[in-house]
Symmetry: C3
Subunit: 214 residues, 3 copies
């Protein structure tokens, strides 16, 4: 499989799975079917669109509107069948973990193909992986997974992208680096969800009363 | 009237009316006059700017700064006279409905002029119509109209854009398609506001206690 | 010092100080070290990236990734030493004031160098100055400084940019205009923080019970 084809497959897969998570968030906000499709499409395309705008590429869904059909189908499926899930939030978290892993690899691949240096490749992996879910959570008023205390999230994306950059520097083939990137991201995120892996968080005195949190 | 001139008029009209809604939201947040202008300009230009960035066009207000003057005047008018309104929120909702209808048509027109296919035309109509108001609501900490349960909002934009695409496919003239687009969007939104029209929303078991909403 | 070099220095300085404020906000949200870096980099580059996307320039950190290293170092410093601060919120406010002043001048300089007219120069000064901090506050769930009642914020950015535009129209050299811009912005913001300077805010009847704030 060529590099470009692999990136295409990764983008499609991330779109489909992120769309499922967007639709699950819409179900928790009790939206109607058009709202499901809206949030699903926003989640599915948000990170990649931001990546493409920064790199001055045409966003994938503008050149290939089939992406929008994928997100729509995912939204309809969730609208019809989400009530069968034992815990929609748990499903959202795990699907999000898979989509995160794939999207980080896709972001890394696109930035490499655009000839970026390694710091920009790292950032683009994180942007593509994290920003769609962040938009979903802000719009649906959920606690952003990106910022949930005591869980690895951005860290997983960072570690995955770092592994890809390191392997490429050592001369590995592109598809090996991208596969390792997705694998490391997924394993770390799964370890955080299932086993509670985490980094130490900042602890200090509580915020002062004169500066209340919103 | 040529297509380009019609799109220009639509953009100006949407800017002025969205700016009024932004200033009304600012009045509900009790900002000062510069805050009024800030929120008015953000609401007025947000959706169109996002559309233009995605389509790689120069945003309207960069090439034609008179747009900013329109938003500023609207903000000053609201700052001086909003206290005369019986209900500022009701005024915000109805002005937003008119601006939504015009902006969807403007977005559809711009995407058509850029030679986009119909799926992208649909999305650009929705982006131009909905995103400025969404930014206003997020910044002013209002419940986003886009996501209010039991009301049609994104659905109206979608239906209006769909009517335009359908009429064009049947060979209608551009100005007829755009007028029908704005009309359908406005009638549906007005029906939702005044008569309670709505789609069935997703209902299921309540969210689990272990996954609290923010 | 040439204009381009001055703009470069201003961008670096604003990045470093905004990164400190982002890391302080991360400390108030008790994130881990990667979360500190994420919020620091978002705050540091958010306003400038938005400016560059609107003006169709390559964002600074894409062409010069050392920017990302600056933000990372600032995040690590805060992670290690923030607990020594008497009031992290107070430090955040004052650092933000300095960064605001520098970033407004940087935004004005970039828009002038891109040959924009004065209304766009004004807006770019405000966008570069205010948007990074707004993103920080939205992501960290703080009350946006941009919108805090009874404080000058957007107004300071506006006044600073206006002074620069006025001085240039009177024939002043670029570096004088940019220095005056930063000075006016900082003095106004400091006066607001320390002495309570403010504009009259909009006051009216309270919002109606049928339209609750989120």
């Amino acid at each position: 499989m060529t590099g470009a084809a692999l990136i295409g497959v990764l983008d499609y897969a991330a779109v489909a799975i992120f769309a499922l998570t967007g639709a699950l968030a819409a179900s928790r906000s009790q939206l109607d079917i058009v709202g499901f499709i809206f949030v699903a499409a926003l989640t599915a395309t948000g990170g990649g669109t931001l990546r493409d705008i920064i790199l001055d590429r045409v966003p994938l869904w503008v050149s290939d509107p089939a992406i929008l059909a994928v997100a729509t189908v995912a939204a309809v499926v969730v609208f019809l069948f989400a009530h069968r899930l034992e815990s929609r939030y748990r499903a959202l978290e795990w699907l999000d973990a898979v989509a995160l892993a794939i999207a980080v690899a896709a972001g890394v691949g696109v930035a490499l193909a655009a000839g970026m240096g390694w710091p920009v490749v790292l950032v683009m992996g994180m942007v593509t992986g994290c920003m769609g879910g962040l938009m979903r959570d802000v719009v649906c008023n959920e606690v952003p997974l990106v910022l949930k205390q005591g869980e690895l999230y951005v860290t997983c994306a960072f570690a995955g992208a770092l592994v890809a950059v390191g392997l490429l520097a050592l001369g590995a083939a592109g598809w090996i680096a991208l596969t390792a990137c997705a694998g490391v991201t997924l394993v770390l995120r799964a370890g955080s969800l299932a086993l509670g892996w985490r980094l130490p968080v900042y602890r200090s005195r509580p915020p002062k009363p004169e500066s209340p949190k919103r």
